[in-house]
């Protein structure tokens, strides 16, 4: 799964956004002004978002491929995909601290980083509101900005609670099927225990497929039996994106209530599934998309 | 001496050879003849150990079964009917493969000598695959000669086993190759050749073994074996030896060729 990201989504979340807009590609200048060398490597889109949300972006020296928000992050050197890191590539940006989402690898690289005595902090990942709060606190602790982190965690937690509470008022929960991809008509959908499952629940809906864990290819009959009211997908750009017409014309889907009501919701992958500071807004957006304003 | 006793070969469910006795002497060229499917190539393959057989094959008095491939290779070389090469080897490289084993391994110049002997020295750097079938066969003969260069080594004769060595050659080269084979025998080596051409057999063989239907029909000198009765019996049609066709018909016999021959000389 590639976490795509859409610049079209305006995200007026936090006050620091204005500052980061000025920041642009001049990380070195900014850092020079602070008189410290940037030495933080952030691995994972949500971790990078939290670093920005904590106003610590001046400490970033590099990021991984999945770190594409805010847009300025893309200007940082990219050390590659979170799960296939190169030890020398990571060391070449001379990080004094690495903060990572779960699942960084391969294990050999992580071992070598330990050999090189680079502090490596893995933040816990659970797909709940508390998970987001814990993540923010963990990143804040690693960055030694705990007061700020507590403030942010409090804010985010409050917004998440509000968004979730609002979502529960939506009436009869809709059944949502999250589809990761439809390569060759084969539907790869989300079961339980995934970020998609988490956000669907938080948005006041139910996951239509609970018979298995993780993302799996599902048969046409299973999709029909799941009878989703809405189909949720990531918003992908490029040639691989399936149009709504193509999607709803798939044999598995034509029989579903979602096809009858033409209900397809697409959202940016990192925004929807990142479980970071923007997740409260994502919950509200998804809830609105599912139940209308 | 190359002796085969009571050789039987079964391929699948068909018995191809039944209780064949065969003897070839060093210093002689022994031909194996017979119609298609008579088992002559199978007999040669039993002599070389390429098919499973019952019976005994003694090469210079020792059973060939139980001898290691390199021990056999030092005593006898085998020329197949045709040989395709898998990679773009040049002619000289093919001939050098004959030097892999045996006592000639140290004599690299021997490859060129052997190539000269078969009249293909000027092709040394050509790719083997670019040659015609007949030329390829002569290159293989040069390789085989490299393997058993001296017809006699340490008092023991060495052997050339040839499977239809002249089948794909023109008459000039047929005679040239048969001269080489006879020269090897005259110098004390042993030659066993599966032959298709009865005229060449009559001209060059010292001994002839005639097979038909997987059995040995006759064994002896060409004069003894190549008779009207035996030939007619073996080939299933009325044949007459030493009878010129009626006037007006053209016939070409290798016997009449005026060939410049050199004596075999083992260097």
């Amino acid at each position: 799964m590639r976490r795509a990201f859409s610049r079209r989504k305006a995200l007026p979340i936090l006050a620091f956004t204005f500052a980061t807009a000025l920041w642009g590609g001049s990380a070195a200048l900014w850092a020079a002004g602070e008189n410290t060398q940037p030495d933080l490597l952030s691995l994972g889109g949500s971790v990078t978002e939290i670093v920005y949300a904590l106003g610590q972006q001046h400490r970033l020296v590099a990021r991984d491929t999945t770190s594409v928000f805010p847009p300025e992050a893309a200007d940082l050197p990219d050390v590659g995909y979170l799960r296939a890191l190169s030890a020398e590539g990571v060391l070449s940006v001379s990080p004094a601290l690495i903060i990572s989402e779960e699942g960084a690898g391969p294990p050999e690289t992580i071992e070598l980083l330990q050999t090189a005595s680079v502090p490596f902090v893995t933040v816990p990942e659970t797909y709940t509101a508390q998970g987001v709060v814990d993540k923010i606190l963990a990143v804040g602790k690693a960055l030694d900005v705990e007061p700020k982190a507590q403030e942010l965690a409090h804010n985010v937690g409050r917004k998440l609670d509000a968004a979730q509470h609002a979502a529960t008022q939506s009436g009869i929960p809709k059944r949502v099927l999250f589809i990761l991809s439809t390569n060759g008509g084969r539907i790869l959908a989300s079961g339980t225990g995934t970020a998609a499952d988490g956000i669907i629940k938080m948005a006041g809906a139910v996951n239509a497929l609970v018979e298995f864990e993780g993302y799996k290819p599902v048969t046409d009959e299973a999709v029909s039996a799941a009878a989703p009211d809405v189909i949720l997908m990531m918003d992908r750009r490029g040639d691989h994106a399936t149009s709504n017409e193509e999607l709803l014309a798939l044999p598995a889907i034509t029989t579903t209530p979602a096809a009858k009501s033409q209900s397809v919701v697409r959202m940016d992958g990192l925004y929807l599934l990142g479980f970071g500071p923007r997740t409260a807004q994502a919950v509200t957006d998804l809830n609105t998309a599912l139940y209308g304003g | 001496m190359l002796t085969a006793r009571n050789i039987s070969v079964t391929l699948g469910h068909a018995q191809v050879l039944a209780h064949v006795d065969f003897t070839a002497r060093a210093g002689q060229l022994t031909a194996i003849v017979g119609p298609n499917g008579s088992g002559k190539t199978t007999l040669l393959r039993a002599l070389t150990g390429d098919v499973d057989y019952s019976g005994t094959v003694l090469l210079n008095g020792t059973d060939t079964q139980g001898q290691r491939p390199w021990q056999l290779a030092a005593q006898r070389a085998v020329l197949p009917q045709a040989t395709t090469m898998a990679f773009p080897f040049t002619v000289i490289e093919v001939v050098r493969i004959g030097l892999t084993n045996g006592t000639a391994a140290t004599h690299d110049s021997r490859a060129m000598q052997a190539l000269r002997r078969v009249g293909l020295a000027h092709y040394a750097n050509r790719f083997y695959q670019e040659l015609s079938g007949g030329e390829q066969q002569r290159v293989q003969l040069a390789r085989v000669l490299c393997q058993v260069w001296a017809p006699v080594e340490d008092g023991a004769p060495r052997w050339l086993l040839l499977d239809e060595p002249v089948a794909s050659l023109d008459i000039g080269h047929q005679l040239e190759v048969m001269e080489i084979a006879r020269g090897f025998a005259r110098s004390g080596g042993g030659v066993v050749a599966v032959m298709h051409d009865l005229n060449l057999t009559a001209l060059y063989a010292d001994e002839v073994a005639m097979l038909a239907g997987g059995r040995l029909l006759a064994h002896g000198t060409p004069a003894d074996v190549l008779t009207d009765a035996t030939l007619s019996d073996a080939y299933g049609c009325a044949l007459r030896v030493n009878t010129a066709p009626q006037a007006g018909h053209t016939f070409i016999l290798p016997h009449a060729a005026n060939l410049m021959t050199e004596n075999w000389s083992a260097s």
Binding site: S92 | A86, P88, R96, Y123
Partner: protein, 354 residues
């Protein structure tokens, strides 16, 4: 190719091929130094050597990058490159086909299946087993899978002490299909992150090189390649077919045993530690055959040297071209190898018939 005028001194490709040992060894030394000197980080081999010469200690970062990252990667790169190229040359000789590769004896399919089993079912293994094998689980499973499938094929193709190369080829296709089907089932039950691990394993990389891996793989590969080097005369003879090889004194069956065991050992170990790296096994022997002829006595040694050099070059590219990120080496060898291969085919079209 025209006939030469001087009949007594045929142009000697064997001589050129022997001279190539030296040149290719020199190339390998140069490429090895480059591999130690170049990387994503600015760490300089020369500066480090100068420091050592002056008796100064290296910084921890220099020591880790040079000794723990680049050096094992260099060692493993040499092992893997040589294994792939020599195994390719041996398989092509054994099957008498310039397009044969170790995949034909089921090593790749088996190793791939082993790796998939380890990645997908690894989580379900008892804890003590996971603790013992640790990070070695996937490579060990890949090696065992490759070895096991080769042995199965070998058994199937051997009747009465004779191994039929043709049967082996056909059985290999069947076994490959079976391994593919089982892999498919496992892919079906794999979760998202396991699928990504599988994809990256399939693309191949030397990124996971460690001294521990190298010390396990290197002796096995060295032993296999050492045994493979004895096959030169045998493979030359086999170029004329099994019967003729036997006639010139080659112990054909023993040779086939050695060839298959060495390929299973070397390729199995190489695939296990580096994943699937394509094209080296076909391009390297082919280039060398064009340059210095098909004589296996020199081809095998030259394949080892050139294969190691090419893989190191590909690895240097893979870790510097998008630094600090890294491109899987399988992509680099394919991108480099495929056009070279096509160019060879177009330029020497007639040679393919040979």
């Amino acid at each position: 190719m025209t006939a030469i005028s001087d009949l007594d001194t045929p142009r000697d490709r064997l001589h050129a091929a022997r001279a190539a040992h030296l040149w290719l060894a020199l190339l390998l030394v140069v490429v090895s130094l480059a591999s130690l000197a170049w990387g994503a980080s600015g760490t300089s081999l020369w500066a480090a050597l100068a420091k050592l010469a002056r008796g100064e200690p290296l910084t921890q970062l220099e020591a880790v990058i040079l000794w723990d990252i680049r050096a094992p990667r260099l060692a493993l790169g040499i092992c893997v490159g040589a294994s792939l190229a020599v195994s390719g040359a041996v398989m092509q000789g054994l099957f008498r086909n310039p397009l044969a590769d170790p995949g034909l004896v089921g090593v790749s399919a088996g190793a791939g299946l082993g790796a998939i089993i380890a990645i997908v079912l690894g989580a379900a293994l008892p804890v003590w087993l996971v603790e013992i094998t640790g990070n070695a689980l996937v490579p060990v499973a890949a090696f065992m899978g490759g070895w096991a499938s080769t042995m199965v094929l070998y058994r199937v193709a051997t009747r009465g002490g004779r191994t039929s190369v043709a049967t082996m080829l056909l059985a290999g296709i069947a076994l490959g299909a079976l391994a593919g089907a089982v892999s498919g089932v496992l892919v079906y039950i794999a979760d998202d992150s396991q699928l990504r691990d599988l994809t990256f394993w399939g693309l191949g990389s030397l990124a996971g090189a460690t001294w521990a891996k190298t010390l396990v793989a290197a002796p096995l590969i060295a032993l296999s390649l050492g045994a493979a080097m004895t096959l030169g005369d045998g493979l030359n003879g086999l170029a004329m077919g099994e019967a003729t090889a036997h006639h010139i004194g080659i112990p054909v069956q023993r040779m086939k045993n050695i060839a298959i065991l060495t390929v299973a050992g070397a390729t199995g170990a190489a695939v296990a530690v580096s994943g699937g790296i394509g094209f080296i096994g076909i391009v390297v022997p082919h280039l060398l055959r064009l340059a210095t002829g098909p004589d296996h006595r020199t081809l095998l040694i030259n394949s080892a040297l050139l294969g190691a050099s090419l893989l190191l070059v590909a690895d240097v590219i893979s870790r510097t071209i998008i630094a600090p990120a890294e491109l899987p080496i399988g992509i680099v060898t394919a991108v480099l190898g495929a056009p070279v291969f096509l160019w060879i085919l177009l330029r020497r079209r007639t040679m393919m018939e040979l």
